[in-house]
Symmetry: C2
Subunit: 343 residues, 2 copies
């Protein structure tokens, strides 16, 4: 008998890094779809930093995952069986199925994706939530203008690599911040960023000094994926009327239950008339088509390159997730769970 | 012989409150205007929190005042003699003459003000820089919508009292934060704010609890004149998509040379998709007419009330300035230096 392998939350990491024992692996019977529902088989699972937040009970924009519940996550799935006329077996869809091999969902609300138009995995990245985050956060909040300097942290990640390339398309000078020479070379040599800063082993002052050389007129747009001292270095380096987009805070994810304290930048915000704004991609669901039109064209034209870091098999999900939080991946972190069977 | 009494910067207050010995009083010969210049006699001197910043060498948006130099400041002055056809003795103008009784300025660039249209002192307040700050920062950055909740700190001050009243005109619910019962009664009973919070003797948690009662749906616009723990209380109380306007940081002016550290609100900014933006009124010089049209009409219609706290005589400037930084004034702090002589 086939079973549904799942990964659930076993323990909350409180003010410490995530460890493998925070997750439990189990196997349950494959569920049966009811009327209007479909049974989905996970093909690719997306791993994203926000999942760290769901493991915590610290106040956030979303409810925490409960102990014993399947970890949340977006997947590209294949319809295995369908009780709804809108979907047939073999169709591929986007779904919030979480860290498991199978799941039942109402057919209504599932977004069909076309494996012929683009690699299925891309719908979890450059054509999915990370791509949309890069696109709307940079363009709508950052409002980069030709000739301006855009700084992006976690530059080789799922969001960062797209941010930098869109900024280049818009005529900006782009500096990426990443951990390690390999990622820095990737964003300059393969993605065409103008410069990269390797943050490893550097304190705020060293980062500020490096930014002063690379961006003598200051940073016009800072795309903040990480928080922490990289945030500080960017804030100390702002140009007049700079925009700071707060998208994530990976640097402080190991101490989510502790109040984040440190340098406060209000005097700098005042002196530079800077604007700092938080961004969550869910606010832009209604504008998905606008994003897809641009991004699909850019991908087709070879204007946006995109790299994935794919681990094989659901079992490797905790290891890959922990690695991603530590910055070990290069490109969008995915799990290849299964290959399509077809109809 | 008539002389020009002046007050100069004698010592920099480094990480401590301003004290009277930071200023020196002297008397110099009244200067002679050259070609195209006018001799001005100060009538009213404006005292504003930003002057504290100019006493410090800490990095800011403007150069510090040098030791021995006259303290900077806006005045309403009367033209005593003129070598330029555009101004005649008896004309009244706005000028950045500083803390002194007389000064020579190029006629070009001086803004004529009409004592018949409004009280001359108003051009330093509700019709001047503080009024413009309230108007553009609230409307352009805060973008308050009818029914939303606006919180303003230093609520009875030169800027705060105008902010709250404009917000009321725009259909908002307005909460003021001020120090002491007298100021709180002023903003509710005289200015028509919906509520006031007396911050004295309260910590962040107590302020947050009070705001939760007064604004159960959260703060949509926070007009931040002060920084410090009032900033924290406001940030902890934001509604979704809140706007925070950073206009001043009086609460930390006694430690300008120390890096401002404390709670960092990036996770809250992200969760609430809040926008925090710095504001300096000089950026809006070109839109002065727009402001004056609205504000003059509102004043004439009795829609905006405005209170001044006027000390008598240049000699009392240091005392009044130190008092203002400690929150002792109620309303816009001014010094009445001299009365007009006329032409």
């Amino acid at each position: 008998m086939q079973v549904n392998h799942r990964i659930t939350l076993a323990a909350r990491p409180v003010n410490r890094p995530v460890q493998p024992s925070d997750f439990a692996h189990d196997a349950k019977p494959i569920p049966e779809p009811g009327a209007g529902e479909v049974l989905l088989r996970t093909l690719y699972l997306s791993l994203d930093p926000y999942m760290r937040g769901r493991m915590s009970e610290a106040k956030s924009y979303a409810q925490p995952t409960q102990i014993g519940d399947v970890m949340v996550g977006e997947v590209v799935a294949e319809v295995a069986s369908s009780n709804d006329p809108s979907l047939v077996p073999g169709d591929t869809v986007l779904a919030r199925l979480g860290w498991q091999e199978y799941g039942v969902m109402p057919a209504k609300g599932l977004i069909k994706v076309d494996g012929k138009a683009a690699s299925l995995s891309h719908y979890l990245g450059v054509l999915g939530m990370p791509g949309m985050t890069a696109y709307f956060a940079l363009l709508d909040i950052g409002k980069p203008k030709p000739g301006q300097t855009v700084l992006v942290s976690a530059a080789s990640g799922a969001v960062g690599q797209v941010v930098g390339q869109i900024a280049k398309l818009k005529g900006c000078r782009v500096i990426g911040i990443a951990g390690g020479a390999r990622k820095c070379e990737y964003v300059t040599d393969e993605l065409g960023f103008d410069a990269a800063v390797d943050y490893r082993g550097k304190d705020t002052a060293a980062l500020v000094a490096e930014l002063a050389t690379l961006a003598p007129h200051g940073i016009d747009v800072y795309f903040d994926n990480v928080g922490g001292i990289i945030h500080d270095a960017a804030m100390a380096s702002l140009a007049m009327y700079a925009r700071i987009i707060i998208v994530g805070a990976v640097a402080i994810y190991d101490r989510l239950e502790t109040q984040d304290t440190g340098v406060r930048w209000m005097r700098q915000i005042l002196a530079k008339r800077a604007r700092m704004e938080g961004f969550l991609v869910f606010d832009y669901d209604a504008r998905r088509a606008e994003f897809l039109a641009d991004m699909t064209a850019w991908l087709r034209g070879g204007l946006i390159k995109y790299r994935e870091d794919v681990a094989e098999g659901l079992d490797r999900t905790p290891e890959a997730f922990i690695g991603m939080l530590a910055g070990k991946n290069l490109g969008k972190q995915l799990i290849h769970v299964a290959s399509p069977v077809g109809r």
